[in-house]
């Protein structure tokens, strides 16, 4: 039905365009005065006014229809069913009603549910037709109003351009809305979480066991939400990744800038880009399939008991993923050092390594540091590799052959599968997300600042 409504709006906009344009061209031929705008702008003016409000109405309708009908359904249920029922129970009712309407029935539903399901089908049909009718009415009314405004001296072009500018500003602010949406949703859910679990326990607690009892009567720990082991695990894996990626990436950049011939450069750089373009889920599978068993075998040769999802394997593979990131940023930073500096050093009789280590590297250091910070933020926020290769249990350890868990692993495992927004287990994921967002944001801002400052110095 959404598709039909969309088609209707497009059709009405087209009609509006032609109505407006023909009006415009009539002005052009009949009117004594000089007309202000081309006929097509008259058309566009009417079309835009017809199309955009209708589109907004349609999106709102589609977005809110489900919730509205659900509310109506709940209030239509007999009182003895809804009275005192918890939110999740009400949700279950709704789920069941919806299931009945789509024919997925397990066992015989109660008559109340059946009746509600019939109501649901009826209401949805009404809503569908109502939507089409309302949209049609809206477009026709707007078409009449805007058509009446057209005249030879009407500034249709300026009007259209103003609307287009408005749309562009809206698109540009969408980025801000996204950020606000992220911050808002994280803060909102995290706030709900901190109502159940104190902030101090979350930030400084040493015990992370988010599994809470499923049934009320179950005797089990109420779940522990001390996130320190999760944070240390994240840092451990990110640290291992940086340990792998920084030397390899930096040395690669040094070689490409100072030693490599053009031919080597033009082969190695695309290969690095391939390395950067491999999706992280592929690296995750690689970690599970090849690296983790290899690390394990190697450990047993040394007589070490290596966990099957050791921090070493996950961090190592994450390091591979980050190599091209560091190498390309360091490459940029080294290349930004003016050539005169390099020539000056070489002309003094330094070898290439002396030029690199004594002159270029110190000069490029801020840029390289910025790149490393960006890479670190990437390592901390990277998800798939650790979800597949790191552990689920939060161990407070810095032993690289042990299994640790990370913030991103916990977010994904807590939210995978069915989620209800009233359990601390689900909300904890948002609290972790908030921490992750803040930390990566700080790292990014810092890194971007450093890199920009450094660029200004040499531009």
């Amino acid at each position: 039905m959404f598709g039909y409504a969309l088609l209707l709006i497009i059709a009405m906009s087209l009609i509006a365009y032609f109505v407006g344009r023909s009006a415009g061209s009539r002005f052009a031929t009949n009117s004594q005065e000089k007309i202000h705008s081309l006929p097509s702008y008259h058309g566009a003016f009417v079309a835009v006014w017809v199309g955009i409000p209708a589109l907004i109405l349609l999106l709102l309708w589609v977005g809110l229809q489900g919730t509205a009908i659900d509310q109506l359904l709940l209030s239509s249920l007999p009182e003895q069913m809804t009275e005192g029922a918890s939110a999740s129970q009400l949700n279950l009712y709704l789920q069941e009603i919806h299931n009945v309407t789509t024919g997925r029935v397990f066992g015989e539903p109660s008559p109340e549910i059946k009746a509600a399901a019939e109501r649901l089908i009826r209401w949805e049909a009404i809503a569908r037709w109502a939507m089409l009718v309302v949209i049609l009415a809206l477009t026709i009314v707007v078409l009449m109003i805007t058509r009446a405004q057209l005249s030879p001296r009407f500034r249709a072009r300026n009007n259209v351009e103003r609307i287009v500018s408005g749309l562009m500003i809206f698109c540009a602010t969408l980025a801000i809305l996204t950020t606000l949406g992220i911050i808002g949703s994280l803060l909102f859910e995290a706030w709900a979480f901190f109502q159940m679990v104190p902030v101090s326990e979350f930030l400084f607690g040493l015990n992370w066991e988010p599994q809470i009892p499923i049934r009320e009567d179950q005797v089990a720990a109420a779940g522990a939400f001390g996130a320190i082991p999760v944070f240390t695990g994240t840092l451990l894996i990110a640290f291992i990744a940086m340990l792998v990626a920084t030397p390899i990436g930096l040395l690669t950049a040094i070689y490409l800038v100072e030693y490599a011939s053009d031919r080597v450069r033009s082969t190695v750089k695309p290969i690095m880009e391939i390395l950067a373009g491999v999706p992280t889920v592929v690296y995750g599978f690689f970690a599970v399939l090849i690296v983790a068993p290899a690390v394990r075998d190697f450990g047993s040769v040394l007589g070490l008991a290596v966990s099957p999802n050791s921090a070493l394997a996950a961090g190592g593979v994450m390091g591979i993923m980050i190599i091209p990131f560091i190498s390309s940023l360091s490459d940029d930073a080294l290349n930004a050092v003016p050539r005169a500096m390099r020539d000056g050093s070489l002309a003094m009789g330094s070898t290439r390594s002396e030029t690199m280590l004594n002159v270029l590297l110190p000069a490029a250091l801020p840029g390289i540091m910025g790149g490393i910070l960006l890479a670190l933020s990437r390592a901390i926020g990277e998800t798939m590799i650790v979800v597949m290769a790191a552990g689920l249990i939060a161990n407070l350890t810095f032993n690289p052959v042990d299994s640790v868990t990370t913030v991103t692993v916990q977010i994904v495992t807590l939210l995978i599968g069915d989620t209800s927004f009233d359990s601390p287990k689900t909300l904890a994921a948002f609290a972790l997300g908030l921490v992750l967002f803040i930390i990566t944001l700080c790292l990014n801002v810092l890194a971007i600042r450093i890199v920009q400052k450094y660029r200004e110095k040499y531009d």
């Binding site: 500096m341 020539d343 000056g344 050093s345 070489l346 002309a347 003094m348 009789g349 330094s350």
Partner: protein, 275 residues
């Protein structure tokens, strides 16, 4: 004639800065040097003798190959991938394109000053000490201090910077930076100093200072300077070579070249008919 006598002889002419016509021992001898950038030839069979302890200027319109030729003297052209040099070039009778020759040694003995001042982003002290440090010319801090002071003295910069030796070299003015670069080149005690348009980025006052410095340095060093300014060549050099389109057109004592050039092209250039 001994070198000291030559120096004394030069002093006598200093007020009028007339280049001396005396023959001197030859420091650099280039024969049939050609330079190619990829397929394109930039320099055609240049042969020239550069005398010791004198200033030789290369002049010519831009793109004539004078800078390219200068960069052959310390093999800086090696740093450009596509660049190829043929012919023979002797510095102190040693063929510098001999594959057994160590360019590191060559560049220590043939210093270079660039068009744009390019001090390293380090302190003034570190800029000067950099060369001696990598070449092992000094060991203790005291020895380095001596070299730093001497070099800055020679570059006439000592009095201006002696109180801020540990501030960054990039904080100096343009003229000071260029003299710092000259001091940096002098610090490794080279035999030859190459200067690639050393004053083109400087204002007239700074230019005058650097020119004065060049005149003083010629006592001890063989200097080759590329310049686009004929007046500068006339002021500082004893010999001048005129390049055009990659060819060495004419070379000789500066006063002779500027007053009675043999070639028409040289005459046209120095009288300003093209350039």
């Amino acid at each position: 004639m001994s070198a000291v006598a030559v120096a004394a002889n030069d002093k006598a002419f200093e007020t009028v800065r007339t280049p001396d016509p005396e023959p001197r021992p030859i420091k650099i001898k280039a024969s049939d040097v050609s330079v190619f950038y990829g397929e394109k030839q930039a320099l055609f069979d240049v042969s020239i003798d550069i005398p010791e302890r004198a200033v030789t200027a290369f002049i010519g319109p831009s793109g004539c190959g004078k800078s390219t030729f200068l960069r052959c003297f310390n093999r800086m052209n090696d740093t450009i991938d596509i660049c190829r040099v043929t012919g023979e070039m002797l510095v102190s009778d040693a063929n510098i394109y001999d594959p057994r020759l160590d360019v590191v040694e060559l560049r220590a003995r043939v210093g270079m000053v660039f068009q744009k001042p390019n001090p390293f982003p380090k302190s003034i002290w570190d800029n000067i000490a950099y060369g001696p440090k990598i070449h092992g010319l000094a060991k203790t801090k005291a020895e380095f201090d001596v070299i730093v002071e001497e070099s800055l003295q020679k570059a006439g910069l000592w009095n201006e910077v002696k109180d801020r030796l540990h501030e960054p070299g990039t904080g100096l003015s343009g003229g000071q930076q260029q003299r710092l670069c000259i001091a940096r080149a002098v610090a490794v005690s080279p035999e030859v100093i190459l200067m690639d348009e050393p004053c083109s980025a400087l204002d007239p006052i700074a230019t005058a200072k650097v020119e004065e410095l060049i005149d003083e340095l010629r006592e001890n060093y063989t200097i080759v300077i590329v310049t686009h300014s004929m007046q500068q060549a006339a002021r500082v050099s004893q010999r001048t070579a005129f390049f055009h389109l990659g060819i060495l057109v004419e070379e000789g004592p500066t006063n002779v070249l500027f007053t009675s050039p043999k070639e028409k092209r040289t005459q046209d250039y120095i009288t300003g008919r093209f350039g």
